[in-house]
């Protein structure tokens, strides 16, 4: 497995390990204590995951001081191909969002829905959390896809 692909897979695993308990905790706390307590208390569940995310790259090193990522010539070739492919994925993603009218329709509809229903501020972390999950999981999946495709060539 390519080192960068292993890194992306590691990120995906961390996201799943961290986000699933956090979302579960939020839902349980929401039912028991309401939105305000749930929003602030469930943030604590992100702590261990953030620790793994920041210091986890050290787990790949066999010995202290040994570099975590070693790429030979074929790995570098795959990386070059994957970067080109990744740019296409990213540009495709943004073009899909920015230049397709349905996005703006959905965006306007969402704003109107929030205005009409008057969603309280305590629920906003849920939206930020959702955006965070979508953003990073999309990126990780794009990297995994790019490297998988580049490795096949």
């Amino acid at each position: 497995m390519h080192p960068q692909l292993r890194h992306a897979r590691f990120n995906l695993i961390v996201f799943v390990i961290v986000l699933v308990p956090t979302v579960c905790a939020y839902l349980v706390l929401l039912l028991l204590y309401g939105p305000r307590i749930a929003a602030f208390s469930s943030v604590g569940f992100l702590g261990p995951g953030l620790f793994i995310w920041v210091f986890g790259s050290g787990f790949y090193r066999r010995k202290p001081g040994e570099p975590g990522v070693v790429m030979d010539e074929r790995d570098q070739l795959i990386r070059d191909r994957a970067v080109l492919l990744g740019w296409r994925v990213v540009w495709g993603y943004w073009c899909l969002i920015c230049f397709v009218p349905w996005f703006w329709v959905a965006f306007a509809w969402g704003i109107e829905a929030v205005k009409e229903k008057g969603i309280p501020v305590e629920f906003y972390p849920l939206f930020y959390g959702g955006a965070f999950i979508v953003y990073y999981v999309t990126w990780s999946l794009a990297i995994v896809f790019s490297y998988r495709e580049a490795s096949q060539a």
Partner: protein, 69 residues
């Protein structure tokens, strides 16, 4: 004209005291995945890598790699 690079790495490994892919990878300075890709003809090595592999077997480059037309 289509050309394909064939190699005898697998044969040479077994001729050299059943050398493992990892041992060859360490001698050539690449990962085991690269050796796997080479043996499966999924990767064309650089000249430097081809020379390193040939040196690991103590043979010439053309004893390891052959170009079929």
């Amino acid at each position: 004209m289509s050309t394909a690079l064939q190699n005898r790495i697998r044969r040479l490994r077994f001729d050299h005291n059943e050398m493992t892919q990892q041992e060859l990878a360490d001698k050539a300075g690449v990962t085991r995945q690269t050796i796997i890709a080479l043996e499966a003809n999924r990767y064309v090595p650089s000249l430097v890598l081809a020379l390193r592999i040939a040196r690991a077997f103590a043979v010439g480059v053309e004893d390891v790699f052959q170009m079929e037309e």
